[in-house]
């Protein structure tokens, strides 16, 4: 847990004084990722550098796990925090393996343990250990170097991570994948993370909470969903973008909105006649056909009329299915593309798990906007 208590940082003195941070008070709970967001020069890097005492605090206090950092040995303090610096700052005289292994070596880990850890981290960063282990930083592209910077920060498995635009130089495809990888890891490890970004997309994706800064002041501190739906003022609204309703779709997932037991289900072996009767009785427009637990398609009264065979031979197939972890954004895009308002949800084995409809998503968005925020973890809304 990191607590900022009325923290102010002023660089320089007299006429040259620059107030980089002004009266910042916020808490990063244990296991939580907070994204420090804002335009260039708003103090994001400074707040990280105050946290590990690379800069001194002008006024106020910072507490790490309840202890005032002013009263701690700065080397010990830094060793319990991984630090990924904005400018990457790899050691040019050391190999990639030695760069990553720096902190573990300072902490006195055994050689074998360090080697194992280095390979593990390289793999996580999508770099082949056999290729990269013994290279030097100069032989890597900017994006690859940045990934090594992230790996180095994670190396000793610190409880707290300070990450300053850690994915800024990585190409979009690799960035998405590394972000995903990182989120998966974070779900497991539950580290306390201060994450700097100037990219609203990244902030929404990575943050449990977002702290939005403007010229050294904290403007709003809230969950991504809350900030998107309840921007505090025009600055926040402008920063999150005019398309913020669409951005909300990125943080709603099928698992949050789908219907696990829809009523319009028929088994594949049912006859056309039975199904037609079922549709009329239930007063629905179509039925979804399940065969051997797998959704095989849907049937409408028009298709079923004058037919005799089992429905599984009559279905119109769905263009594709979605997973519980698919975002509402992708689902909607799919619906628009295929001109269809309901899709089947399947599990990883392709078995039917429910349906998701346009209305389900819309209802959820409406709920979000009226402020029905659930606080519990895991569920990000």
């Amino acid at each position: 847990m990191i607590t900022y208590d009325h923290v102010t940082k002023i660089f320089g003195e007299g006429a040259n004084a620059v107030t980089a941070l002004e009266d910042i008070t916020l808490t990063i709970e244990k296991g939580e990722t907070v994204v420090f967001l804002g335009p260039s020069g708003c103090g994001k890097t400074t707040i990280l550098r105050l946290t590990n005492r690379l800069e001194s605090i002008t006024r106020g206090n910072i507490f790490v796990n309840g202890k005032n950092i002013r009263e701690q040995d700065e080397v010990k303090l830094r060793q319990q925090m991984g630090y990924v610096i904005q400018d990457i700052g790899l050691f040019p005289n050391k190999t990639i393996a030695d760069n990553i292994g720096v902190v573990p070596r300072l902490l006195g880990w055994s050689k074998e343990r360090i080697t194992k850890r280095v390979d593990e981290l390289l793999t996580m960063c999508r770099l082949d250990p056999d290729v990269f282990r013994s290279r030097y930083p100069a032989e890597l592209s900017g994006g690859q170097q940045q990934r090594i910077g992230v790996a180095r920060g994670l190396a000793a498995d610190p409880e707290i991570l300070l990450m300053d635009e850690p994915f800024g130089a990585i190409d979009p495809i690799n960035r998405e994948q590394i972000q995903d990888e990182f989120l998966k890891l974070q779900e497991k490890l539950q580290k306390t993370i201060a994450f700097v970004s100037h990219d609203i997309h990244e902030a929404i994706k990575m943050g449990d909470k977002i702290a939005l800064f403007e010229q050294g002041r904290l403007v709003q501190y809230a969950s991504p969903a809350f900030m998107l739906t309840h921007p505090k003022n025009k600055y926040v609204a402008d920063f999150v973008g005019a398309d913020r309703a669409l951005k909300v779709l990125g943080i709603i997932f099928v698992r949050d909105v789908f219907n696990p037991c829809p009523e319009n289900i028929v088994q594949g072996l049912a006859t056309a006649k039975e199904t037609l009767a079922f549709i009329e009785k239930e007063d629905i427009n179509y039925a979804i056909v399940i065969d051997d637990d797998k959704p095989v398609g849907y049937v409408t009264p028009k298709i079923l009329k004058y037919e005799q065979s089992p429905v599984r031979d009559l279905v119109k197939a769905f263009p594709d299915h979605v997973r519980k972890r698919t975002s509402a954004r992708d689902v909607l895009s799919f619906m628009l593309m295929h001109d269809i308002l309901t899709l089947c949800v399947v599990d990883d084995n392709g078995n039917f798990a429910g349906t998701v409809s346009y209305n389900d998503i819309q209802k959820k968005i409406r709920e979000t906007y009226t402020g029905e925020m659930k606080k519990d973890k895991g569920d990000r809304l």
């Binding site: 610096i85 400018d87 990457i88 700052g89 050691f91 040019p92 100069a138 180095r152 920060g153």
Partner: protein, 222 residues
């Protein structure tokens, strides 16, 4: 009699004088390194001191060597070493300070701040940062300073013959006194040869101690 004949005829003396020369330059370089490198590192952490120290070394550099020997003579005479190797080695140590301190200071200062911050931020203490990062990155430039100092000192050591320090300068000094051209030229050639060899050797050392990663970086930047 040609220069070569002179050297062959007097090879025993040549070897002895060369040895004296090596001894003076080598000893002074060791002492100068032991003083200058730590001093150069210390002043990177104390900016106020840095200006004074480097200015001081600059002033020493501007004093002509003959004048320096003259200045030291009465002082060292008190302990009975007004002439000989002691004033020579002291002078060489003093002259070496500027290239050694300045190069060390500049090299450490030039370590990119992002690298230093990364090291500090990960919890290296000052000493670990120096040992693992700053010195390895600075070492090529530090060695270049030693190289300059060594080559320069070979020349100054030749002048030290005038205060009775021995070395190859003896041939030049005595040759002039006796109007003996072969002797003068032999001394001059041997001193120059020695300087060229040391320069080459130091270049090799520079290459050897440069961390591989930095060599790779240099190659790729070109």
């Amino acid at each position: 009699m040609s220069v070569l004949q002179f050297i062959i005829a007097n090879y025993k003396q040549v070897l002895f004088l060369t040895w004296e020369h090596i001894y003076m330059v080598g000893l002074s370089l060791i002492i100068a390194t032991a003083l200058g490198v730590p001093l150069g590192i210390i002043i990177t952490k104390h900016e106020e001191l840095a200006k004074r120290v480097i200015n001081g070394a600059n002033v020493i550099m501007t004093v002509p060597s003959i004048a320096l020997f003259g200045l030291m003579l009465p002082v060292l005479a008190i302990i009975g070493h007004g002439l000989g190797k002691v004033p020579a080695v002291i002078a060489l140590v003093l002259y070496s300070q500027l290239p050694i301190i300045r190069n060390t200071y500049v090299a450490i200062k030039n370590v990119p701040p992002s690298i230093r911050d990364a090291g500090k931020g990960m919890g290296m203490n000052k000493w670990e940062l120096l040992r693992e990062v700053e010195i390895p990155i600075a070492v090529p430039v530090i060695i270049a300073g030693l190289r300059t100092a060594a080559v320069m000192n070979i020349g100054i050591a030749a002048i030290a013959a005038y205060v009775g320090a021995g070395g190859l300068g003896v041939y030049i000094q005595q040759g002039i006194d006796r109007v003996y051209p072969e002797m003068i030229i032999s001394g001059a050639v041997l001193v120059s040869l020695f300087a060229i060899i040391v320069d080459g050797a130091m270049a090799l050392v520079e290459r050897i101690v440069t961390p591989t990663g930095l060599k790779v970086q240099k190659r790729l930047v070109q």
